[in-house]
């Protein structure tokens, strides 16, 4: 059964890269009764351990989300900004944004003749206040904001912001609660700063130094009208990554995940993403090299306020994570 309440909480929790405090607390509360050991490392990664004497296995899902950072508050009370993670100017216009303090703003543009040339320097946030003192007091350089959008679901799919990668967090939380009987020493890590360059995973991979690492993250799909040429689709099951721009999955890891999926009747599909990367990219080059792979959740409209994924795919991913932990 899909836990809509949990997903809604995860999606709505404020946590752009570098500001993961709230989401870390939320996840900690969810899993604290199920873990053998919970630590937070110097960069802020949340490390949840289920102890064992066998092989060290690392699962990661990043808890940060894309957002914007205020670079300048002008005299009239309008905010200029830069992106935190992959966001394009063209896709921002008109978006509602929300700050950590609950205040909101709308992304607007200067008067331009040619919208094709829209760049971030021509955009600003209007925080809907004519009171300059109020703006000055409540919005400061360095403040971050994220999309404001409503969670919505249908019989089989979910629409929400930050499914990248809160759905990965959802999967790991479920896996922790249903951790299988095993000798393996399993680390479930909720990483920080993935969206700005896989930074949390880099240090987590180094400190844990596992025998096997698997990242859980979203991937694009090829099933939308005139979309990218890609063989991944919603409802096609857990996606086992073959390659993206950060990693070529270790052949033995790919074979292991395929074997586990087939043995346990888990619906799966192979995935090649011709852009982007995941935590596994940073982990696999750590130390003497760490055999790594990725289990992906097929998701449409990545990095928008309306990311769409399929609930049955999530179930298949959870089964595959649990099978791998065992």
């Amino acid at each position: 059964m899909f836990n809509s309440d949990l997903m809604k909480k995860l999606s709505n929790c404020f946590g752009p890269s570098g500001r993961e405090k709230n989401i870390r607390e939320l996840i900690t509360n969810e899993i604290k009764d199920y873990a053998d050991e919970i630590t937070t490392d110097p960069l802020g990664n949340l490390i949840v351990r289920k102890k064992g004497n066998g092989k060290k296995i690392l699962f990661t899902a990043h808890m940060d989300q894309i957002g914007l950072i205020i670079t300048h508050v002008d005299e009239k009370g309008f905010l200029r900004f830069s992106n935190v993670g992959g966001l394009k100017a063209k896709e921002m216009l008109g978006l509602r944004m929300v700050f950590d303090n609950g205040l909101e703003g709308v992304i607007c543009k200067e008067e331009l003749k040619n919208n094709e040339k829209l760049s971030m320097s021509k955009l600003y946030i209007d925080v809907a206040s004519t009171d300059k003192e109020f703006v000055k007091k409540n919005f400061r350089l360095g403040d971050m904001c994220v999309f404001k959008s409503e969670y919505y679901e249908t019989e089989d799919c979910v629409v929400c912001k930050a499914a990248d990668d809160r759905i990965g967090c959802y999967i790991l939380i479920d896996a922790i609660k249903n951790h299988p009987a095993t000798d393996n020493d399993v680390y479930y890590v909720f990483t920080v700063q993935e969206e700005v360059g896989l930074r949390g995973a880099k240090t987590a991979g180094y400190s844990i130094n596992p025998d096997l690492a698997i990242a859980i993250d979203v991937t694009a799909t090829g099933d939308s009208p005139d979309g990218i040429k890609m063989d991944v689709k919603l409802g096609g099951g857990a996606a086992i990554k073959i390659k993206d721009n950060s990693i070529i999955t270790h052949p033995e890891v790919k074979d292991l995940l395929t074997y586990l999926a087939e043995k346990n009747n888990i619906k799966y599909q192979y995935e090649i993403l011709e852009f982007g990367g995941t935590d596994a990219g940073a982990i696999h080059t750590s130390r003497e090299g760490i055999p790594s792979g990725v289990i992906s959740i097929p998701t449409r409209n990545l990095h928008t306020s309306g990311e769409i994924f399929n609930k049955s795919d999530v179930e298949e991913c959870i089964k595959l994570v649990i099978a791998a932990a065992q």
Binding site: G222, K229, M230, D231, I242, K243, S246, I247, I248, T249, H250, P251, K254, Q269, Y270, E271, I272, E274, H284, T285, S286, R287, E288, G289, I290, P291
Partner: protein, 346 residues
Amino acid sequence: MLKEFLFDICSEQFVAGFEHLNGHILTKYFEPYTDSLEKDNLGSYIFKAKGTNERKIMLAAHIDEIGLMVTKILEGGFLSFTSVGGINPASLVAQEVTIFGKENIFGVIGIKPPHVTSEEERKKPLKLKDLYIDTGYTKEEVEKIVKVGTIATVKREAIALQGSRISAKALDDRAGVAVMLETAKELKKISHKSNIYYTATVQEETGQRGAYASGYKINPDIAIVLEVGFGKTPDMPSHSPGLGKGPIVSYGGRFNPKLTKKFVEICKKYNYPMQYEVVPARTGTDAEALQINREGVPCILLSIPLRYMHTSVETVDLADIEITGKAIARFINELDNSDLEEILCF
């Protein structure tokens, strides 16, 4: 023997991420000159020749090559693909390919007839997503052999051109691996005190990923990176390095200036020809990963001049490989008899 090695190794596939399948060829050639073979967790081949002191010198050349990867099986049995590493789509048109599926099968990459290609279409640069592989099989037949993620390479036997030049696929960077083999042969003759690690690294073409792991594992005192450089052709800048004129010595932020200077001195002393290039910032070589390994590793970069990089007709001069291999052996010999700290000290 150098030519034999290159003909053998270039005709096999070592596509980035899939270098574990044909390692026996490397073993066959390196085993007589080295003491042990170890692999790191990402699969790089590390052949060690033991020395008599504690010093560790790493030679690194990447064994991986660029390749193709099937992304989708289309109606009619056509295969869409992406590249593993950087490929100019134009270089793939009208090529024959080998697909490494459940069994090896051949295919061709075609292009629309000129008669039905509009003026506008002709002006647009060709993209990988516009190309596909045709094996002759129907969709149902090809699905039994090929899956999403199956790799392919251009099918190309190495050929001897006139003189000492050869043309083959994947001379980037098998030419560098061949330099290591030449050095190994030479050092076996004149002996060495340092421990030498001949490292055939993996996944360089996708971001120097293998070198991170092997560098960490070996933890060398210095590293000599062997690559290929842009050889001169009529359409390249006039100052490009020429074939047959010796290794290209790189100057730039990635390389230890004193170690580089020492190598140049040795070349001059023994009358080995060489050429220079300046790479101020990113080099796109294993030196990227090795220089910042652990506490930092002094690196030098030597490149074999090569024409038509990242096509299936990469061309080198065997003389350059021989000279470079010998010069490195002399260089190591001199380092063995000097105080390395003094050389490296700024």
